[in-house]
Each structure stands twice: as structure tokens, then as C-alpha cells.
């Protein structure tokens, strides 16, 4: 469920990046790579778990599924917070600088 949540976040981000790639002001490429990196790593984790559990991997307990979904959503939120911090520090549109040094 964590893998699935991150993959969906990565796909949505990639679509948004493609739509706004011309301006490049939102630094969405960083967020895309962040989610894709995590998705690939969780994919490896899932493959190893599948090798260990077999078909049982696809029938998790509802409580485990809920916990994994909660974890996935929290990971997506953390990714967004990191991206927001990068966006505000890099400040490609100069909005923060303009606000800070406005007389």
C-alpha cells in the first residue's frame, strides 16, 4: 500500500511537471525524482517480501493495509514538505526575497 501510494504520487507529480515544464518555476522535477526514487526502493522491498511470503503478500490483513496506507500518505506529505522547503529556499520566482527585502 505504501508503494502504491508513492507510485500514484510520483505519476501525478510527473503529469504536473510535464504540464508546467516550460516555465520550470515550480521545481516539480525535484519532487518527481524524490517520489520515483522512493517508489523504486519500495518496489525492491516489495519484491523481496513477495519472494519470502509468496501469494500471501497480496492478501494483507485490513489493519496492516490501513497502517501502510497511513504510512504512505505520511511519506507523501513528508515529500511535499521537503519540496516546499527546497522551493522556498531556491525561490525561483524571487517572491520570498521580494517580501523579505521590501521596504
Amino acid at each position: 500500500m505504501t508503494l502504491l501510494t508513492t507510485v500514484f504520487a510520483a505519476i501525478i507529480c510527473t503529469v504536473l511537471w510535464y504540464r508546467t515544464a516550460q516555465s520550470g518555476e515550480w521545481k516539480l522535477g525535484t519532487l518527481c525524482l524524490m517520489y520515483w526514487g522512493a517508489s523504486l526502493m519500495w518496489l525492491v522491498d516489495a519484491i523481496f517480501e513477495y519472494a519470502e511470503l509468496g501469494a500471501a503478500y497480496f492478501t494483507p490483513e485490513p489493519a496492516d493495509m490501513l497502517n501502510d496506507l497511513f504510512l504512505g500518505l505520511s511519506a507523501v506529505a513528508l515529500g511535499l514538505v521537503i519540496w516546499l522547503a527546497i522551493l522556498l529556499i531556491r525561490d525561483p520566482k524571487g517572491v520570498v526575497r521580494q517580501k523579505l527585502f521590501k521596504k
Binding site: L40, A75, G79
Partner: protein, 136 residues
């Protein structure tokens, strides 16, 4: 248990390499002799430091989110030795085995995907070259 540490180590190496390549490329750009010889070929090429930054972002992004997952599961703690498995020799051996299998596989897969991205970028560079106007 601590599989993300392998990718973290790779991410540190890639970050250092990216900054070194960036410095070299900037020095080459600012050199007057290089500016004179600036051709369509060099302007159509994506700098290698930028390509390394793709791998850096893939790795650091994955490491950050996986580290969070480990904190979530209580495998990483904010006090020494930071990894709960490190305090018990039997758990430590299992952790090292996991790092050697899952951790290495994670770092390898991310690197292979990045190599694929480099291949696609190389194709795009090749396609961009003929469309550029020829220099006198």
C-alpha cells in the same frame, strides 16, 4: 532494518561528484578560450553535473522517505546507536545481511533507472543536434 543506508552512502558520493563536475563545467564555461570554441554541439548537450543531480535527487528522495518509514516502524531511533538492530549482535547480523541484499538491490535499481534516463537524454541530444543552425 537499515537498507536505505546503502543508497545514502551512494547519495553522498554522487552529491560530492555532482558538485565537483559542476565546478569544473563552470570553470570551463568562464574560460575565454572555451567561449570562443562554443559550438552548437556543446550548447545542445546536457551538462553531466545536471545528469548526476537526477541521480542525486532520486537517491536522496528515496533515502529520506525510507528513513521516515524506518522511524515509523521503530527501526531507527533518535538516540545511540540510532538503529535498534545494532544493539543486539544477532539482529545486527540480520541487518547487515539485509543491507547486503535489499539495500544493494535498491541502490542498483535506482542506478540502472538513471542509466536508462541517460540513454533517453543521449537520444534527445542526438535529435536536437541536426535541428540547430550550422555555424559559419
Amino acid at each position: 532494518m537499515a537498507c536505505f543506508l546503502v543508497s545514502a552512502a551512494e547519495a553522498v558520493v554522487v552529491t560530492v561528484a555532482a558538485s565537483r563536475f559542476e565546478k569544473k563545467e563552470k570553470a570551463r564555461e568562464t574560460a575565454p578560450a572555451a567561449c570562443e570554441g562554443l559550438s552548437a554541439e556543446t550548447t545542445a548537450k546536457i551538462p553531466f553535473s545536471r545528469k548526476l543531480k537526477w541521480l542525486r535527487n532520486l537517491l536522496w528522495g528515496g533515502v529520506a522517505l525510507l528513513a521516515f518509514e524506518h522511524v515509523w516502524h521503530g527501526e531507527v531511533v533518535p538516540w545511540f546507536p540510532f538503529l535498534t538492530a545494532a544493539s543486539d549482535p544477532a539482529d545486527a547480523a540480520e541487518m547487515l545481511h539485509e543491507m547486503g541484499t535489499v539495500g544493494v538491490a535498491m541502490a542498483l535499481l535506482v542506478t540502472v533507472v538513471w542509466l536508462g534516463m541517460l540513454g533517453v537524454a543521449a537520444l534527445a541530444e542526438k535529435r536536437a543536434l541536426p535541428s540547430l543552425p550550422e555555424q559559419d
